[in-house]
Amino acid sequence: MVKRLSLCLGAFLLGLGLFISPKGASAHDMEDNWANNDTIGYGYETDGGYVLAIQRMLKDTPWGYSAVDGYWGSKTYNGVVNFQRNEGIAADGIIGPVTWEEFEDYRVYVGYLGSTQYYEWNYNLTDSYPATYLRDACYGWYIDVTTNNSEDYWHVDHDFERLTYMCL
């Protein structure tokens, strides 16, 4: 009886471990469906590629108060609150599934470039330098963090990782 119980508990923990470990063991990269991205903001993830992406997209709105440095602070928070207000959703400064979907609404596929998908984030339709994304078949999403056409792509996950290799 005791053996059975211990086996059951072991199996339960095995399942639990399989469910939890892959997320904790490696950085959770940006998803194709942005509603599945990790939550960003105070009390959640507050630095790295996700924050770079949010700050860069906010630069295409009137609320790009913060530098594109990958560190969450009051300026980024205020920018997100204003973005949420203008999207007609709860303005709590937390980027969870609903807010991620609102950001994704402005992501537009532009075309295929040999080995990568090329996207633009078209929020301000008069902007000469909209945020651009590459989706590489190997490593996922990269965002150009510059606002002046100099193209400096960084991987969108919880680390700070510049694009150095592309897969073919």
Partner: protein, 185 residues
């Protein structure tokens, strides 16, 4: 004794979980590494040349314009882009229209139309995007209609005559967007 067995069972289970998840991660990494990688250098770096207006001399196709438009909108200046990676080029035209009184409205209340055309011939399609849409027919070809909520943008994506089209509307109904797409000439 019972407690001891329970603890041992739990530890063994958790250890197995870590080992198996590590194996799964390794498999994923191996799979990604099976692609051929190229180092990003000045030659392979993505560059974008941007021009105001429709720079026809930079394009390999004649940019189409819609003859049907939403009511009470004004046209914004079109943009031309040439996205370059090494020897590969993607030529893009973007045209946009917005509410005449857009400045008085919050973003989600505005009427907006954005039409993107590029010389992507659709040989490789972004299935991660298209899988979210409903497949319909527009102007005699397959098209994908991607929509979410009432005030959220609707995208109509299709390839025709070796060219890619994305007709994206905000606060424009789907049937109107289809008419706009079919009027492109």
């Amino acid at each position: 004794m019972k407690k001891k067995n329970l603890i041992i069972g739990g530890i063994v289970g958790a250890a197995l979980a870590v080992v198996i998840s590590g194996f799964v991660s390794q498999e994923k990494a191996t799979s990604a590494n099976s692609y051929q990688n190229t180092k990003v250098t000045e030659d392979t770096k993505i560059k974008v040349e941007r021009f105001n207006g429709i720079a026809q001399d930079k394009l390999s196709f004649k940019a189409k314009k819609p003859t049907v438009l939403p009511e009470d909108v004004k046209e914004l200046e079109p943009k031309t882009e040439v996205v370059i990676q090494g020897a590969k080029k993607l030529k893009v035209v973007k045209q946009a229209w917005v509410d005449k009184d857009a400045d008085k409205k919050l973003k989600y209340q505005r009427k907006e139309l954005l039409i993107i055309q590029s010389d992507d011939d659709g040989t490789v399609k972004p299935m991660n995007v298209l899988s979210k849409g409903e497949k319909i027919q527009v102007a005699g070809v397959d098209a994908w209609l991607i929509k979410r909520g009432e005030h959220d943008p609707i995208q109509l994506i299709f390839w025709k005559d070796g060219r890619y089209f994305n007709v994206r509307g905000m606060n424009i109904k789907a049937d109107k967007l289809i008419k706009i797409a079919e009027s492109l000439q």
